[in-house]
């Protein structure tokens, strides 16, 4: 276990390093000059050079990359005019367009993304798993077909369409809900939930489609296994056979995928966040790549990678806890 974690940690670090290098190499192929973007309209040559110097863009690229790595381990200093401001380790860089360390930018937006992802996850699990179980138990019959059709429909509509339709329907026409605005949980939990309802559903519908299909096939497979036959041969009630034994076997892979999806959506719910104006990580990545805010994009890519790797590791650990037969290697 410890050994497994250590190995996983080591490989994660290597992975992130490769990722960082990749991100840097790619972004230095940029045709546009970040200094110009910081500088604004009608920025002259002398001032550009000064900004270049301040951003460290006048140094060779490998030196910049080195400083970036150094910052992660030891922190970095940046001139703030009269003084220097310190970006403490782990410093993922400093956004000059925002005048903030990348990590604190990410930190500010993390709660939004967490709220969105966690809520949506609960919903998609509830909807997806119950629909899938239902479909499996009624395999081949009307309910099964209905679930299958609905899930394909949901899977086939892009989020920006389904989200927009939900938004216009519930807020624009029916007025059942106000247009969503993010309210922090700590401020007003009720308003938090109410405002996130639509984004949650938008995200959950698309995901639930996948989970329903996953659960259905898993359930059918488990139900055909020998140990289920044993339980039936010993007269266990069908409810118990399905609800306890078959579900357990079905949910195990679902758990892994859920953890994986959680990590992925946490940083990757760009469409939903853009559509609903939620100031989360996905929106940040869209904003900063539009602004060519290199440090933020690079930092976010790394954090995203890390989040997904951590989620995957968590999934594996969870799997080992749920299924004692699994040996972590």
């Amino acid at each position: 276990m410890t050994r497994y974690l250590l190995r996983r940690l080591a490989s994660t670090i290597v992975l992130l390093f490769v990722m960082a290098a990749f991100v840097y190499v790619t972004f230095y192929a940029l045709p546009s000059d970040p200094a110009v973007l910081v500088c604004g309209k009608g920025c002259g040559g002398g001032q550009l050079a000064a900004i270049d110097h301040k951003l460290g863009l006048d140094q060779p690229e490998y030196v910049q990359f080195w400083h970036f790595l150094e910052g992660i381990v030891a922190g970095r200093d940046y001139s703030s005019g009269p003084d220097v401001s310190h970006c403490a380790a782990p410093c993922l860089g400093f956004s000059f367009q925002n005048d903030q360390p990348v990590l604190s930018l990410i930190g500010q937006r993390l709660p939004v993304s967490l709220s969105l992802t966690a809520g949506a996850m609960v919903l998609w699990l509830l909807i997806g798993v119950s629909a899938g179980v239902l479909a499996a138990l009624r395999a081949g019959r009307f309910t099964d077909r209905a679930v299958t059709a609905a899930s394909m429909l949901a899977y086939g509509s892009p989020i920006f369409v389904s989200g927009m339709l939900l938004l216009m329907l519930f807020c624009g026409y029916l007025h059942w809900l106000d247009f969503p605005v993010y309210v922090p949980f700590t401020e007003d939990p009720a308003a938090w939930a109410k405002n996130l309802l639509l984004p949650w559903f938008t995200l959950a519908i698309a995901q639930a489609a996948i989970y329903a299909r996953l659960t259905r096939s898993g359930m059918l497979e488990t139900l055909s296994e020998d140990h289920i036959r044993t339980l039936r041969a010993y007269g266990l009630r069908e409810r118990r056979v399905v609800g306890k034994h078959a579900l357990r076997g079905t949910l195990t892979p679902v758990i892994t995928i859920t953890a994986y999806d959680f990590g992925y959506i946490l940083v990757g719910a760009m469409l939903t966040e853009t559509l609903f104006g939620l100031p989360g990580l996905g929106q940040l990545i869209v904003q900063s790549s539009n602004n060519v805010d290199l440090p933020v994009v690079a930092g976010l890519t790394l954090v995203a990678g890390a989040a997904i790797v951590v989620a995957n590791t968590a999934a594996d650990l969870l799997y080992a806890v749920v299924d004692r037969r699994v040996v972590l290697a």
Binding site: D226, H227, G235, T252
Partner: protein, 536 residues
């Protein structure tokens, strides 16, 4: 063993089970079978693979419900007709009136829950007992079936149990509800002979103690003759013969039964005539293979699958290798053909040290060194025609396409296959036919040494007999030297000149077949031999 009493606990009349096929065809897996089983009695159902034994057994507990199978006829468990009752009523009968144990104990238990919990769950379902009482009952029955330290091991999950222990746990589960009849579908087929003997003993004891009836499904005539009073022989879904074990097996009325009996290799049959051994073809010295155990602590444990084995195979002879599951037979066989790298030791084949030859250098040697595998399913590529599969080795060695195919067809004829079916795919053939193809492929390069790893274990007795005979003929014809690996002592005895016995990776005894079976020297060999069951 108690004598059968008047009132039958189980009466089956005209049982028929059909499975709808791909088109309009329906497969009649069980066809008008009738039999009775008295209280405390024991009935065996035997027959070839696919004859409908398991289908019958499952029907007894109504386990075909909600599947595609159509069941008709009468199944009376006591006074209740399983076919006529509602789902809920049948559910109540299961476990309580009749309990069932299955062939593959590995997958018959829910991997996620503790064994004690699974047993107490069944117990509570039928008795409504409290958690505590049920747990106590679970520990009690586990203890009864001989699980050591039952109170502790009740907390284990199935994967922590060995196969024999799992089968015991399943019997314990059956025992918990004190059923009137125990249906056992091949309860020991997946187990080693020594473990098989223990399990059969256990079932005997329990019958004597509780007076429950036994319905034993098996393909093994030895098991039948040892454990039941009456036997029913099935063929293609029909009951061809029925009667007391002694009578049926001693003087079968049906030719089918006769053939079945004849095909069973026996420990007391004639030993094969010892050939004059030639010079050593293969010499193995100190051969050892280590595997790392997965998981474990920081320093991984190493296990020796084959431990310091030295032997020699002479030209023209057949060397049998026997041993229980996990004793290292396959590992040894694969090292001999260099599919596995030995950790230590050396292999000298036809005067050449091939121990460390790289894959490239091996190509020439490989022509002379071939292998037949145990599993006819996985030994043929499902996506290549059988003709191609047989011809491939020739092609690799540079024979032209046409010529290779021609040879392949000849070989097919030789091993008793219809050569015109060379462009079919493996799934269109039966297990025995596939095994013939495996042999044809191995022979295509005209090897000197043929290593057969359990070539007949996956086949039923009659097919097994045919294949063994074929191997014997080919040995003559092709001047083959054979290493024959099997867990079945009787089979090995029938084909081998000399026999090696393996135990925990070590070679415990190596002797001429007659000597080894006649006067085994090693304690382990004796134990093995004692556990073998013979029909009648």
């Amino acid at each position: 063993m108690s004598e059968p009493s008047e009132r039958p606990v189980l009466t089956v009349r005209d049982l028929t089970v059909e499975f709808p096929g791909d088109g309009d065809t329906a497969l009649r897996a069980v066809d008008g079978v009738s039999f009775e089983l008295g209280a405390g009695g024991a009935l065996g159902i035997v027959g070839e693979s696919g004859s409908g034994k398991s289908t019958t057994a499952l029907a007894l507990l109504g386990l075909h419900r909600h599947s595609s199978a159509r069941v008709s006829g009468e199944i009376l468990l006591g006074d209740d007709d399983v076919n006529a009752l509602g789902d809920e009523a049948v559910r109540r009968l299961r476990g309580r009136r009749a309990a069932m144990i299955f062939q593959d104990p590995m997958s018959a238990l829910d991997p996620y829950y503790r064994i004690g919990d699974q047993i107490s769950e069944v117990y509570r379902t039928h008795t409504g007992a409290g958690r505590r009482a049920a747990w106590a009952k679970a520990v009690e029955v586990l203890d009864r079936v001989g699980i050591p330290d039952a109170a502790r091991l009740a907390r284990a999950r199935p994967h922590e149990f060995s196969g024999g222990m799992r089968q015991r746990a399943l019997i314990a589960m059956a025992l918990a509800c004190e059923p009137r009849i125990l249906v056992a579908d091949e309860p020991t087929s997946a187990l080693d002979v020594t473990v098989q003997a223990q399990i059969l003993d256990l079932i005997d004891e329990l019958r004597a103690e509780t007076g429950m009836a036994l319905l034993l499904v098996t393909h093994d005539l030895g098991v039948v003759s040892r454990s039941v009073e009456r036997v029913l022989v099935m063929r293609d879904g029909r009951a061809v013969e029925q009667g007391p074990v002694g009578e049926v097996l001693k003087a079968p009325a049906e030719p089918y039964t006769r053939a079945l009996l004849d095909a069973v290799p026996r420990l007391d049959g004639p030993v094969r005539e010892r050939r004059t051994p030639g010079e050593p073809l293969l010499t193995v010295t100190g051969l050892t293979r280590e595997f790392r155990r997965p998981g474990g602590g920081l320093r991984r444990e190493v296990m020796r699958a084959v431990d310091d084995v030295s032997l020699e195979v002479r030209r023209g002879e057949t060397l049998g290798v026997v041993g229980e599951s996990g004793s290292g037979k396959t590992t040894l066989a694969r090292m001999i053909v260099r599919l596995l790298e030995p950790t230590h030791g050396s292999i000298v084949f036809a005067g050449q040290d091939v121990t460390r030859l790289p894959e490239r250098g091996l190509r020439a040697v490989r022509r002379d060194l071939q292998m037949v595998f145990q599993d006819p399913v996985s030994s043929l590529n499902p996506r290549r025609t059988v003709g191609d599969s047989i011809a491939d080795p020739l092609r690799v060695h540079g024979t032209g396409d046409r010529e290779a195919l021609r040879t392949a067809r000849e070989l097919m004829e030789r091993v008793g296959l219809d050569a015109s079916r060379h462009d079919r795919y493996p799934h269109e053939f039966s297990g025995g036919q596939r095994q013939r193809m495996g042999i044809a492929r191995a022979l295509s390069l005209r090897p000197k040494l043929l290593v057969c790893d359990e070539p007949v274990s996956a086949l039923d007795v009659s097919t097994q007999a045919q294949i063994l005979e074929l191997l014997g003929d080919l040995q003559e014809e092709y001047d083959l030297t054979i290493v024959f690996v099997s867990h079945d002592l009787a089979v090995v005895r029938q084909v081998s000149d000399r026999v090696a016995v393996m135990h925990d990776g070590e070679l415990v005894e190596l002797a001429d077949a007659a000597d080894l079976y006649g006067s085994p020297r090693h304690e382990y060999t004796r134990r093995l031999l004692a556990a073998v069951l013979a029909p009648v």
